[in-house]
Symmetry: C2
Subunit: 468 residues, 2 copies
């Protein structure tokens, strides 16, 4: 959504001040490797759905310093020589990543970037902004969809309370998470998503009479319309009027699509409304509900026997309301041919040094049993240890092993077709099906094992002892 | 950030399905009035800072259905006649609004839109998306800035964990809230904000030695550099190395700007670091801190005597982490010359009917004492009643009275110069200064009075009784 010539300005200023300093110090071309990972599961979730690479790769391909961007830098004190050099800059590095829709876990590097210090640093903020946000929303949506179960639809209604233009990427990510359609037309246009929506309260209020409002609406949309029934009173007015209209339509060979409940006690109302519709011979009329829903409310509604065919989920999904940021980081792990790490005053902020490989281990049924992080240049490890308590370990020998990092971009050129949103969603469903159920539950999900190789463990200990 | 010809697609689909239905029913030109208001204070705040109109007005001026948008609609089942009509569509309605930076309160209509049903409905989602999000972030930022106090700076570091492209508007809103600069270069470019940023851990890690890393950085930036001192150990390595570099700079007539602490116990470290710097004769070297800050942590740090000159605030401000959505709504209050209201099954979702006036009352010192909502066509009310408990009332007679709704757009044409972000920020500061301190505190802020006129109260009762 940003002009490609302005895209390099979509960054934290320090990326540019560091780039200029490396340039001036003659270190701009030093090769480096960075890892993207996150440290904490949002929503106390047992997994995160990785998303965002589809957008990121397209952005990186077009990103360059246009004249406007260069002019701004010049006006803000950047050197003429550096600004001139930026004029020809393009991202020429390489990116490996897990696939969009993959389930990923804390501490495992799901992306790895190789490039010069300047190249890798100039894309950091864009990468973080894209991957952190889309992975967050894809995860939230996957949880909501999981709560709704396989026979009910979840619709994204979030645009009006979403985070400005972030809404477009959020609707994309929600679709990867399994939402079947969105109200957000621009997201539908950009990403080929299914778009749905029929009426709001304003339609009903703009007529003197609710029945008249419904009739005038189905004149235009005789098939599949969803009538909003809570403008006056759901049970005494909205549903009886919807039934009248549905029968009139049926007499002319048409079918009302459904009714939507947007206030009141949705468990109570949905059961009552289902009975009213069924008694009127309208078992095909579906019930959609909305109003401050999230995965926990949906779970609770279904436990109470709510009769719902579709959930319209807005604010709480599109903003990931109970945990609105994923703490993804992008860390230098090697430069100039040497592994690097940050020790930091907080142990949890320490990093794992070196360019890496990420493997997933599955048992004979195909179920995921753990991930292993090892150094890219060591043989496939035969023992994986706990990242902190090295005396806890397991052997991946005999398990199915799968390398998760796939090349996306090599030396600035895309080397893999990007999946569509629909394909990424299908991949997510396939991968979630291989994750044991204990990791999917909402309350205290089982912790998925992510370990490191003995060599990586030894390298970290060595660098920590020399303070490097 | 969206092509103006695609901007009408930045909407919920039902706006377009309703527009087509009104068009087909011959009701597209019916005049209508809508109000924007919110119902609940985010963050248990005593006030909300209104923001977003600067962006909104510019978007509405350029918004039109381009060929791509029309093609999408045609391909998705919209009628040829309606699509043809949309080709010439522009927003021709009128908008009144409180000024950007105004402090606003639940239930008071801070914006009022007059237009045809179609005009007013086609801008609804864009208006909500813009105003809800920017007001939310401006409010959060104002709280953070209030906690930091008048002598310390707050810097926006949020881009990497922000909500995709929402980051640009979020940085704009944070500036209205009082943040002095942002790391977000694109937001700086677009809105003329001050932009700051010096180094990240990657700079330090890319050298074999921290002291060498600092020296190489200040070679390029001999004045005002801020050194990040926690890559290895803040007290035993980072700060001693920063002091060495600061002395070397001072010997050459330069001044180090500051040090930044990004981990560890910031209260303890900042006091210790201040002492180390002062003992080294470096009282001019400032201390910046960052790491998961918000207004509550800043308040706590300062209560512990932390010695901080600048707070870098990221994720928790830019996502409004503890309450990431403002529940702003846009409600039809009149159409076809008649007041309209929605009763709903939830009393809190009921609306106040009719086109309105919004007044603010101040005492002889200029302090705000309450807001009054009345009908646009009644005389200035002499009694304001509680919106629910009508027996509670007060008289604004004798108080200073100020109409808060200013015309921004009249019949599609802008009629007022929009303030810059800096002007909106100054206005916010001026208005917050008139809000009694009890409304600004974090714990149980005093509830600001918003009442309605007796005529509005009577009209609501009348419409409720007839179910209209």
């Amino acid at each position: 959504m940003v002009d490609p010539g302005l895209l390099p300005l979509y960054t934290d200023l320090y990326q540019l001040t560091m780039a200029q300093a490396w340039f001036r110090a003659g270190r701009g071309d030093v090769p480096a490797t960075y890892n993207w990972l996150f440290r904490t599961q949002p929503f106390d979730s047992g997994y995160v759905v990785f998303a965002g690479t589809g957008d990121l790769v397209e952005l990186l391909e077009s990103m360059h310093f246009g004249n406007e961007a260069l002019g701004w830098l010049r006006a803000h004190g950047f050197d003429e020589a550096f600004v001139d050099w930026l004029r020809g800059w393009r991202f020429r590095g390489s990116i490996e990543s897990v696939a969009e829709g993959e389930v990923v876990f804390p501490g495992a590097p799901a992306m790895q970037v190789h490039g010069t210090l300047i190249d890798a640093q100039l894309i950091e903020t864009l990468l973080l902004n894209t991957i952190n946000f889309q992975s967050l929303i894809a995860t939230k949506a996957a949880r909501v969809v999981h709560a709704a179960g396989p026979t009910r639809s979840v619709l994204d209604f979030g645009l009006r309370r979403a985070q400005g233009w972030g809404a477009v990427a959020a609707s994309r990510a929600a679709a990867i998470g399994g939402v079947v359609s969105t109200s957000n037309v621009l997201a539908g246009y950009r990403y080929g998503l299914d778009v749905t929506g029929t009426m709001a309260h304003a339609w009903v209020q703009s007529f003197d009479d609710e029945l008249d409002a419904f009739r005038r609406f189905v004149e235009v949309y005789p098939d599949g319309a969803v009538l909003l029934v809570d403008t006056w009173n759901t049970l005494s007015s909205g549903v009886p009027n919807a039934i009248t209209v549905a029968r009139e339509l049926a007499a002319r060979g048409h079918r009302l699509g459904g009714v939507r409940l947007d206030s009141g006690d949705l468990a109570y109302l949905s059961k009552k409304v289902r009975r009213m519709l069924d008694e009127a011979g309208l078992d095909y009329v579906r019930i959609a509900v909305s109003n401050a829903l999230d995965e926990h409310l949906i779970k609770s509604l279904l436990e109470q026997g709510a009769r719902v065919d579709a959930f319209g989920v807005g604010t709480r999904m599109i903003t990931a309301a109970d945990d609105p940021a994923l703490d993804g980081v992008y860390k230098l792990v090697a430069s100039d041919g040497r592994p690097r790490m940050k020790v930091s005053d907080n142990v949890t902020k320490a990093t794992l040094p070196g360019a890496k490989r990420l493997e997933r281990y599955s048992d004979e049924t195909g179920a995921f049993v753990g991930d292993g992080v090892s150094l890219a240049d060591e043989p496939l490890p035969e023992r994986i240890v706990h990242p902190v308590f090295a005396e806890k370990s397991f052997s991946p020998v005999g398990l199915q092993r799968e390398g998760l990092l796939q090349p996306l971009i090599a030396d600035g050129v895309r080397v893999r077709d990007l999946p569509s949103v629909r394909e990424a969603c299908a991949y997510r469903a396939e991968r979630m099906a291989k994750l044991p159920e204990e990791h999917l539950r909402f309350a205290n999900p089982h912790v998925y094992r992510v370990g490191i190789s003995e060599r990586l463990h030894a390298l970290r200990a060595e660098l920590r002892s020399v303070g490097r």
